[in-house]
Point group: C2
């Protein structure tokens, strides 16, 4: 039995429009978005949890390190379920580390810590939770990138316009760090 809902985010979503309702979503059928080469799939957001937390996956091809960034008010989980993902993170004293995460490995990035990652195998997948006392930020991906109807990775990278880059990140507690250097190797 598959139920679809019209929500403020999608004309057809598997996430109920009304909070307080239990639900199940099969693999891949959450609210999907494309940003650069990645597919982001949202399974729960702030509306479902009184803004306590969200739950999403990020899938991508083997590729380049994503731009370094931080979140002034958001804590972030990286839990790898497929492939291999290299996590880069800097603590509040400026000390940097990088670590290759394989399935079952967990990384935690507190607020204000610069971080980035690189998918090191095709078909890698990361489970993410990103939230803090100020709320959740799961709709960042589709607002900077684009909502996606189909399944699978973007056929062509979805590159945001400069106008979006200038306005969207701040609305979702994301601060890009264009001058940042990873000195871990």
């Amino acid at each position: 039995m598959t139920i679809e809902y019209a929500t403020r985010y999608r004309q057809t979503s598997r996430i109920p429009a009304e909070p307080g309702k239990p639900y199940v979503i099969e693999k891949g059928e959450g609210d999907r978005a494309h940003l650069f080469g990645d597919l982001i799939t949202i399974y729960a957001g702030g509306e479902q949890t009184e803004n306590a937390f969200n739950f999403f996956t990020v899938e991508g091809p083997k590729g380049n390190v994503i731009p370094a960034h931080l979140h002034p008010d958001t804590y972030e989980v990286f839990y790898v379920t497929q492939g291999a993902v290299r996590l880069f993170v800097e603590d509040l004293e400026g000390e940097q580390q990088e670590k290759l995460l394989t399935p079952g490995d967990f990384g935690f990035v507190p607020k204000n810590c610069p971080h980035a990652y690189r998918m090191e195998r095709h078909h890698s997948q990361v489970v993410g939770v990103a939230a803090g006392p100020g709320g959740t930020f799961e709709r960042f991906f589709e607002t900077l990138g684009a909502p996606a109807d189909g399944l699978g990775l973007p056929r062509e990278p979805v590159v945001p316009t400069p106008g979006k880059f200038a306005t969207v990140p701040e609305q979702y507690d994301v601060r890009f760090l264009p001058e940042h250097q990873w000195r871990t190797r």
Copy 2:
């Protein structure tokens, strides 16, 4: 490089005692607890997120359905990464559903919704997030059950004493429903 910390919960933990510090934990090396036949592994708790959310895994053998319960102030995620898990959940109107979840499938249980699950294959694993505006409840498992030093499932089921059953659940926003019946089959 492996760093261990003394925390209020463990003499040696991979979770830093000081919040605000980024960290990585390899598969299985979070704070472990045994409750009945299950192994619960905590990778992040309320201290790490200003009480916004937590992140843990539950592994178990193929077995019986766990006791029905609800959380008056906690939202809960069931994301299956290994095996097969049957989720039972009742909505606020009393309508019940059950669904077999396999890897990549997601279930969401809002506060006040009775629920239970049954591991339907040996070596099943569920990723859990359980939190709400009132905080997080990840230390429920080791308080009702027992902290575990070793890796792997309990050799013998860890059955709480009646005294613990009478006092611990309420402290962690858990309400067992001993009269509850699943009518889904």
